[in-house]
Amino acid sequence: MNLLFLLHQTFCGAVAAAGFGMLFNIGMQQLPWCAGTGALALAIRTYCTGLGWSLEGASFAAALAVGAAVQLLHWRMEISPTAFDVVGCIPMVPGSFAAKAMLGLFAAAAKTGSGDTHLLIMALQYTLSVTFITGAIGTGLAIPTLLLRVRLPLPRGSRPEH
């Protein structure tokens, strides 16, 4: 594992998370926490992919770690968990894959020859990657939330069934 590359990815993850934190109107005092969660997410994902994991598996591990860290911080520091876990994972959202998938589908639709299946296969691969990575991030974030969720002080039996 190249330490310089790991530091580079971690720093870029922190900057991306903090920048998007501003877009989501997170307060200035809490932006360092956003940067911290983004850095944690990218550090774990880069480390796992360096070990030979798939991008989906590495994204799942990173989201799981961020979700757990944010829930623990929420207990100790009264911070909003929804603000930080999602923002921390924003740098891992496969936006570029999604754009490539859509462009690939456009290109495949524009081609009329029968031998142009390569474009379609590429577009489908990107689409599947987007689906699985987003699924991995969402599941990784949801598991700590569901396991470690702070119970609200509401009367028993008053909650609706879904």
Binding site: C12, G19, M22, L23, T82, L152
Partner: protein
């Protein structure tokens, strides 16, 4: 056989009539048990429901997950004295039934355009906690909600645009854009965010705005990348439009499905897909314009 059927029908009708008579006979007693119309708790029930629904609407519009909206509704409703609160969460509307004793009321509320505003979300949770601990009245909650929406601070547009530009540049580096292409990504995303803020402020449709910003940012990144001599122009172009990718709704969609709200989760996923489609359309328009210009 026909006679038998007629007799059976007669007996059933007689039983119904007897039951109706019994119910009608009980009516005066029931009416005595009920308070007069003017003193029923309906007005306060209505106020509780509308205040709770307003808070839920604001949280939905601030990008809250379905579970968070449900939790907030329960906190506020119980703080206002409701015994039970049952919420139906849709993408464009909310329905809420509030009960106190034997009285209950159902109201609906339309949800506006959904964005992400974490400071407002935090303010809502503080309001809900205050309502629970200080036993605020429904009117007080409504007033404080209006104040909260009006007083929630925002970043200055240029500060936000610079932040978004930096974030997209960092994204570009994560995707493998070389250093020569990082500057154009920063510039294109900053200009794109400025245009987006301006367009949304003047009421432009969200999807039209997405195409406009996507094509403009991709065009700027492409021209800038060529000018700077970048070897990764294609990736730089994609990095410059990542400010438009609806990351929070995408993650929320899956969370909603996992937490037992598949309808809302599916609706969110559909809207994410449509936004991605419009981003791709903008990415397609940008190079076409560039080629025409050349």
């Amino acid at each position: 056989m026909l006679l038998g059927k007629c007799l059976k029908g007669f007996l059933v009708q007689t039983q119904r009539n007897v039951r109706n008579e019994v119910e009608l006979a009980d009516l005066p007693e029931l009416m005595k048990a009920c308070p007069p119309l003017g003193s029923t708790p309906m007005p306060s029930l209505n106020a509780i429901t509308m205040a709770t629904l307003d808070a839920a609407r604001v949280l939905m519009e601030s990008g809250g997950k379905a579970k968070s909206v449900d939790d907030l509704v329960h906190m506020i409703a119980h703080g206002l004295g409701a015994e039970s609160a049952e919420l139906r969460i849709g993408y464009a509307s909310l329905g809420l039934t509030i009960s106190i004793g034997h009285s209950s009321i159902t109201r609906m509320k339309k949800v506006g355009s959904i964005g992400v505003n974490q400071r407002l979300e935090q303010g809502l949770w503080q309001l809900a906690k205050r309502g629970l601990h200080e036993r605020l009245e429904a009117e007080q909650v409504e007033d404080q909600l209006v104040q909260l929406v009006a007083a929630t601070p925002h970043y200055r547009p240029w500060v936000m645009a610079l932040g978004v530009g930096l974030a997209c540049a960092a994204f570009g580096r994560l995707l493998g854009v070389d250093w020569r292409g990082t500057g154009p990504v920063f510039f294109a995303a900053t200009v794109g965010q400025c245009v987006r803020q301006f367009a949304l402020r003047y009421g432009l449709n969200v999807f039209v705005c997405t195409v406009l910003v996507s094509s403009l940012a991709s065009l700027l990144a492409s021209i800038g990348g060529h000018w700077a001599g970048s070897g990764t122009i294609g990736t730089a172009v994609i990095a410059s439009v990542l400010l438009l990718v609806p990351g929070v709704p995408a993650v929320n969609a899956l969370n909603d499905i996992l937490e037992g709200y598949p309808t809302l989760g599916s609706a969110r996923a559909t809207s994410v897909m449509v936004v991605l489609l419009f981003i791709a359309a903008g990415l397609w328009i940008g190079p076409v314009v560039l080629n025409l210009w050349r």
